[in-house]
Amino acid sequence: MKHLLSTADLGLDEAIRILDIAEDMADVSTREVRKLPTLRGITVVNLFFEDSTRTRISFEAAAKRLSADVINFSAKGSSVSKGESLKDTAQTLAAMGADGIVIRHPASGAPRVLAHSGWVEAGVVNAGDGTHEHPTQALLDAFTMRRRFHGAAARGRDLAGTRVLIVGDVLHSRVARSNAWLLKTLGAEVTFVAPPTLLPNGVAAFGVDVYYDLDEALARVQPDVVMMLRIQQERMNAAFFPNGREYARSWGLSATRLHGLPERTLVMHPGPMNRGLEISDEAADSPRSTVLEQVTNGVSVRMAVLYLTLAAGETN
């Protein structure tokens, strides 16, 4: 695996392999020495054109546990915001000897352009591009589900038959896109729930069931996982829905909806959460919530991705 750009590029075997390696990486964090020499001498650049402290720290921790050298390049407030192009930035990083580039960019497709441009030789990992994808988030979500449902027997398993409800701003959500592809590849049954204004025109492309009514969806699907998407503050002012109160009432995971869920149902959220909007305090803090596990698992999954994209030689 030279790059990780989209979960749509992953086949079932490859997806399971990443999750299995992430299990090995998770084991490492239980050892006496929680560091591996695997990527010694390799330089990973975190190239962030958007602020995302959580994702950057997670990748940084993952790279450091694998003994890579990490350079953080925040494009905000740097030469990039003064008009330097992605191409010039990339070539600068290549000249510094970057072996891997973890890129977060507001433009959909920017990681693919970087990977296929010929500007750099480095492996490219997509850490979130525009409203396109966020593959490592989807992988850590799948990893979290697999661990919760299968525990120590998770290795080698897919998510066949797992019913996942993804609720909220699908239109602008890279998390929803990456999860839709990956979870379907792993055999899960994915359903989107959102007001029609927050579903992309052409949502049929994802081949998932779509509901506008959250209560109907919860009753009909009886989900194993409810994944709440974050509502960006700027959407509130753009007439996608009348106001936050109405959104919370119709599409928020309230205490009442939480208590109506089947016993085993997990509550997931990619974070950061808007408590009181898409998720209630009761849901966010309940034992079904995997929010903190997701953060922990993020490091293991990103270690696996960095290992697969950067450790191997040219032949693969």
Binding site: S108, H116, D129, R177
Partner: protein
């Protein structure tokens, strides 16, 4: 004096007749077999098609203001390379062509370059801002005698301004060429809206944003009794609206670009910004509808929307890349591939959609006239029988943002004659100084 005289031996006209063509004194002096003229250069045109010089109603020459991507001279060379003898230069230069001064400058630069007739298009609104009418009368009455007005690149979105513009332009016998794009519905638009835009996470450019404006404007134009031309129709729905308007006898004409006849949105999935264009590449169903509409006359002409951009403007992330592709050099080949080789139209139709009709709509005097004794010597000599891989070497303008690079395309422009002298011979664009000198001599002789 006779150094620019040529005899094209055994050329085939669009209707299939074969004839020698004697060019001299800026006109076709004679047709027939075994023509001779001592001073004339003889060109073996056996098997080659002779068409009246092609006329583009929609070209971006980028001068003044964006000379890094194209100039009037380099764009004229690209046009000649593609077999064109006249181009209409869009108004979105910097400064915008919204005054007599700018349009006269563009026309003068075109005359001096001498590769093609350059007809400036005037802006509808000041600075293309869509709020105040530009100096339409001054441009119409200037030496450039502007007859086509367009805010292309921007839509004349305000319905009242659109109505006034249609009415006002009517008074000067001109036509308004509308870039149909509802601005609110296309905020942040990056590609055709549908399943692929949903997958790629790129902002959607819905077909309805084009169709709604066309529907409004055909009704408005009919209401005020004005002529309307619709730029780069790109959707099957737009075709239906235009077809309906024409069936009601409305004075509407429409153009389609070569790229919308061939390419589909699927190319966007590479995020290669060479395929970023406005209006965006659409679905294959739209391509089929556009081809059918061009064949049945619903769409009147093919216009290139030649839009040069620098490498920096294209070699970047999709959202930040410029819209547009160069198209002059490849237009005739793409029309052959999509329309002629598919059996949808014949070469007389090509002559109509790429020469006669655009000359008529744009009121480009001395162009689009069938080849006959006494007709202006605006001629394109085209080899239909070859196929080759389109490459940077086939481009003659300043920019190389062509979507056809590395693609197989049929046909090759062998020679182009403008105002009686050659601008392209053996497929190569002639030296700029030589062409400028011939142009100067021809202009003196004409006076």
């Amino acid at each position: 004096m006779s150094t620019t005289d040529h005899i094209l031996k055994g050329a085939t006209l669009s209707d299939g007749r074969t004839t020698d063509i004697l060019i001299g004194g800026g006109v076709v002096k004679a047709l027939g077999t075994n023509l001779t003229e001592a001073a004339a250069t003889v060109i073996d045109a056996d098997g080659l098609l002779a068409l009246p010089g092609l006329v583009d109603l929609h070209t971006h020459l980028r001068e003044p203001g964006f000379e890094g991507s194209e100039t009037v001279l380099t764009g004229s060379r690209a046009a000649a390379k593609g077999g064109f003898t006249a181009v209409n230069a869009m108004a979105n230069s910097s400064p915008v062509a919204d005054t007599a001064g700018v349009v006269e400058q563009v026309q003068a630069l075109g005359d001096r370059a001498g590769f093609v007739t350059v007809r400036p298009i005037g802006a509808v609104s000041q600075g293309l801002a869509g709020t105040h009418l530009s100096e339409i009368g001054a441009m119409a009455n200037s030496r450039a005698r502007v007859r086509v007005f367009s805010d292309d690149g921007s839509c004349v979105a305000d319905p009242l301004l659109m109505r006034r513009a249609l009415e006002y332009i009517k008074g000067f016998g001109g036509v308004l060429a509308q870039h149909a794009q509802e601005p609110r519905l296309t905020e942040g638009a990056q590609m055709n809206e549908g399943e692929l835009s949903a997958t790629l996470g790129l902002g959607g450019w819905p077909a309805v944003a084009e169709e709604a404006i066309i529907a409004r404007d055909v009704l408005l134009a009919h209401h005020v009794g004005a002529r309307l031309h619709i730029c780069h129709v790109s959707t099957a729905g737009s075709v239906e609206v235009v077809r309906w308007a024409k069936s009601r006898g409305f004075e509407v004409t429409a153009e389609v670009t070569p790229h919308h006849l061939l390419l589909t949105e699927d190319l966007v999935s590479t995020y290669d910004a060479r395929y970023k264009v406005n209006p965006p590449l659409r679905r294959s169903e739209d391509v089929e509808a556009l081809r059918a509409a061009l064949a049945d006359g619903t769409i009147d002409i093919v216009a290139t929307d030649h839009a040069p951009h620098t490498m920096e403007a294209k070699s970047c992330e999709w959202d930040n890349a410029a819209n547009g592709m160069v198209g002059l050099e490849s237009a005739l080949s793409v029309v052959q591939k999509t329309m002629v080789d598919t059996g949808l139209i014949d070469w007389t139709d090509v002559e109509r959609v790429l020469s006669a009709a655009p000359a008529r709509i744009g009121q480009v005097a001395g162009h689009g006239i069938p080849i006959g004794v006494g007709s202006p010597a605006e001629i394109t000599l085209y080899d239909r029988s070859v196929t080759s891989t389109f490459s940077v070497g086939d481009l003659a303008g300043k920019s190389i943002n062509s979507p056809y690079l590395e693609r197989e395309l049929p046909g090759r422009v062998v020679a182009t004659f403008h105002a009686g002298y050659a601008t392209v011979l053996d497929g190569a664009v002639l030296d700029s100084d030589l062409v400028a000198a011939n142009a100067s001599a021809a202009q003196t002789a004409a006076k």
